[in-house]
Amino acid sequence: MIALLFILIVALLFVGVINRTKSILGGRQGPGLLQHVRDVNRLFHKGAVISTTTSLIFQLAPTISFVTVVLACCLLPFGGSPALVSFPYDVVAFAYLLALGRTVMILAALDTGSPFEGMGANREAMYGMLAEPAFFVVLGSFAILTGYTSFSEVFAALHIGDGIVSILMSAFAVYVILQIAMVENSRLPVDDPRTHLELTMVHEAMILDHSGFDLALIMVTSSLKFAMFGLVLANFHLPPEMPLAIKIAIALGVNIVFAITVGALESFRARNRMKRNPQFILTLTSVAVLIYFSVLILTNKLVL
């Protein structure tokens, strides 16, 4: 329950912190921290324009996508306090819920018959497919390390040791999860949310035709997704024996650092060339395999 509350609070602020970082680094006045929330609120109250080409799936998709992300959030623990729902191998359910949301959004994009949205959908499908193995190898490695297979138990038992292998492993893991979060949330370096040219968009191109309530739902979904991955990252740094107040402080700190990192990255670098993206995402899988080998060494299955 505390995890869900945490995600809700972070989701309210996350995009604001990113935008604020970007405006400060860009030397602009910039919008306030809660401008994003006001935007979403306004959209919720607006009417919608839908394309005559579309069918039911176009309107249904944002709802399904929203529900899948909410349910995925329910699987995440907060430090030692277990998740709302937890069962063995729930990491698989987590990944597949996100995949369901992505798939219906792709179908909605193709439903419009727009060339841009077809392009965005194709790219999204491709990147999702390439990012999945990295996620499974990382979580599988944690399963080997801890002997558990659900998020709650894995993070409760995860103890980053002092050895060089252990530190390397956790650094790799944070890197891979961070990059998966960037791919899943359509941020740099694979996608640039600032772009105004449809041909260079990925996620933005997919939702060009959504408006009003549905667009608001999509924005809420993506904020939740950010906070969700932020919580996964925070969980690495939350030993269960710590008092709750300190854990909340650490988790908030991790998420603020995460958001500032995203903002800084988006201020200082350009998006990858589209052709390079598959290569980049596949690299994550190779790093994930390094984590797997580190875990094998840590558990004395592989003796060097």
């Binding site: 080409t53 419009t112 959908a121």
Partner: protein
């Protein structure tokens, strides 16, 4: 001719009822059912009984659809053609049951042959098309190469054991290296199951066959190949190598199949390649179970066996749904080319809704049975990763990566089939003027989808019902924690569907009072766009093809503009997807065999005088040989 196939359907219902009663008794009591015809004994243990039920459900779905499919068929056919088709359909049903209840390799060979011939005749329904005749013939030849493997295995058993029962097979494997008998058997069963590199008949045949038959072949018949693999590899012992080979071949098959599915433009070929993928996943699980059995890791083994059973049922249901929906589209538009479809959601919404649900199901996304059936695969894969043995752990990593990569690729393939094929704007006048299929042609798919939903929400219940089957393969009862995890998956999926429903209702309530306008799709200021601006099936697959190009056999015919070309003239650009194995391996072999046979045909001059001379020379030779005392 509608009446004719109704009679066939009725006959299948009778056969199914009779056999299902016995099969259910076997499943319930766990006692062996036996019957003898002459000296041949047929018997059904729980695994066979499961297969019989499985076959019956698949055949009934196909038969129900067949009635309306053939009724809507506009081609002129003679009564003989229909009669042959009907008899072959019943023959296929009976022969598949025969395969499942055979107790020795020889009667299995008999039913196997009957199955191949019956399915060959079913594919030939459109035999007036040259392409169909050619494909069917190729199918028959490839099936006989497979059958040759069974024949060789039979001969080996007969010559050293005196009979070909499964007990003899077990004894034979104790005294000989395991591959002496498993290689021919493996080739025979893998050929039917469509395991790489023996899969190439599958896409061609499924595309050429009428849709009710392709659904039946893809959903049910090829599973008998897996049944054969399970039955024989459990009889032969030890099976570590067999398991490892099946595991690795399964992974290759899965990735190869789904990679090719992405680039297909033909709707039914896409579905057929997805069958190749799913057979790969099932065989991968069989291999995982066998490896785990020898390595004695029960947690991996039991999950893998459950996965084999659940995924077989899931795939049978989904392929019935998808091939039948594709059949409705084919009837309405007369094309299978995804690039000529699109926009069907407005002209035939009923069929497209079925297609969307089927696609979400086959990609193993939560809410339909696919997730429940792939979940045990993940359980076995992750458990294998967690074992202390390094080799098994790595096989576990490979299987998990294969699973999630294949899942992601399936999403690309099926968003293409649905998104390009059925959504958007119509790309041809045929697609624009498509008419909805009658309710009777959509009814069987809804039955299959309902069954799939049942499995999705209650995988634990189905697994408990099949515990006898798992017992025949696994040898122990299913551990309670696996069952409770599956129960959780079922509850979770029911909750997912329920919550989506509730949120959707809330959304309707919230937006009811808001103004809703309609307009054209956003075109970046360009409002005169027509259907041709849309993404096509080829472009949608292009990004995948760019990564895995050489494996997917895409052939481009285009002559680039040369520097000397002063004036423009007509040029064409076209791509064609060919199966790499068929194109690079089988076709050259076929050509060289044909060339060899042609060189032998030199003596066939077609000249009567030459043949008379052959007879004369033969008589002289006999006379000389007799005279010299050689004969």
């Amino acid at each position: 001719m509608r009446f004719a196939f109704s009679a066939v359907c009725f006959a299948c219902i009778v056969i199914a009822t009779v056999t299902s009663v016995s099969a259910l008794t076997v499943l319930q009591t766990g006692q062996l059912w036996t019957a003898s015809i002459g000296s041949v004994t047929y018997a059904a243990d729980s695994l066979s009984a499961f297969m019989v039920l499985f076959i019956n459900v698949g055949v009934l779905l196909a038969a129900l659809y067949g009635v309306s499919y053939l009724a809507a068929d506009t081609s002129q056919r003679s009564a003989t053609e229909y009669l042959l088709h009907g008899v072959a359909f019943i023959g296929l049903h009976l022969s598949m049951i025969g395969v499942a209840i055979s107790t020795d390799l020889f009667s299995l060979f008999f039913s196997w042959e009957a199955m191949s011939v019956a399915s060959f005749l079913l594919v030939l329904l459109d035999a007036r098309q040259t392409r169909v005749r050619y494909t069917a013939l190729r199918y028959l030849i490839q099936m006989h190469i497979g059958a040759l493997g069974l024949l060789i295995a039979n001969a080996m058993l007969f010559s050293s054991m005196g009979n070909s029962s499964f007990a003899s097979l077990h004894q034979f494997s104790q005294t000989h290296p395991v591959w002496t008998i498993m290689l021919p058997l493996g080739i025979a069963f893998s050929m039917k199951a469509g395991i790489f590199p023996l899969h190439s008949w599958l896409p061609d045949t499924h595309a050429a066959a009428p849709s009710h038959v392709s659904g039946l072949m893809s959903g049910v018949m090829i599973k008998l190949g897996v049944y054969g693999l399970i039955r024989t590899s459990l009889t032969v012992w030890p099976t570590m190598e067999v398991g490892a080979v099946l595991l690795i071949l399964g992974m290759i098959t899965a990735l190869f199949g789904i990679g090719n599915a992405i680039v297909q433009r033909d709707m039914k070929r896409l579905l057929a390649y997805s069958s190749v993928e799913n057979m790969g996943l099932i065989v991968m699980s069989v291999g995982m179970a066998l490896v785990a059995r020898v390595a004695n890791i029960p947690a991996v083994e039991v999950a893998a066996w459950i996965a084999v059973l659940l995924h077989s049922v899931h795939h049978m249901l989904m392929k019935a749904v998808l091939f039948q929906a594709a059949g409705n589209i084919l009837h309405a538009t007369h094309t299978r080319d995804i690039n000529l479809l699109g926009g069907l959601v407005h002209s035939m919404p009923g069929t497209v809704n079925i297609l969307i649900l089927g696609s979400l199901g086959i990609t193993a996304l939560p809410a339909l049975s696919g997730f429940a059936s792939e979940f045990p695969m993940y359980i076995s894969g992750i458990n294998a990763m967690m074992t202390s043995d390094l080799r098994t752990s790595m096989l576990g990593v490979f299987s998990v990566v294969t699973l999630c990569l294949a899942g992601g690729m399936a999403i690309v393939a099926f968003t293409k089939a649905v998104g390009i094929g059925a959504l958007g704007t119509a790309r041809s006048s045929a697609a624009k003027h498509a008419h909805e299929a009658p309710v009777s042609a959509r009814f069987p798919q809804w039955i299959a989808l309902a069954l799939s939903l049942l499995i999705a929400t209650m995988p634990g219940l189905l697994t408990r019902m099949l515990s006898g089957v798992v017992y025949t393969t696994y040898g122990h009862a299913i551990p309670a924690d696996v069952l409770s995890t599956l129960d959780m998956v079922g509850i979770g999926q029911a909750a997912l569907i329920g919550i989506i429903g509730v949120v959707w209702l809330l959304r309707i309530l919230a937006t009811k009072s808001k103004p809703l306008a309609t307009g054209p799709t956003w075109g970046c200021g360009f409002t005169e766009g027509d259907a041709r601006v849309q993404y096509t099936a080829t472009t949608y697959a292009d990004s995948t093809a760019a990564i895995a190009g050489p494996l997917l056999g895409i052939h481009t015919s285009y002559r680039p503009i040369a520097t000397a070309d002063m004036f423009p003239h007509t040029r064409t650009y076209s791509t064609e997807e060919k199966d790499v194995v068929a194109h690079r391996l089988l076709e050259p072999i076929g050509r060289s065999v044909e060339a060899f046979l042609r060189s032998l045909a030199v003596i066939q001059t077609g000249n009567m005088r030459a043949y008379i001379m052959y007879a004369f020379v033969f008589i002289i030779a006999i006379a000389v040989l007799t005279f010299t005392g050689v004969l």
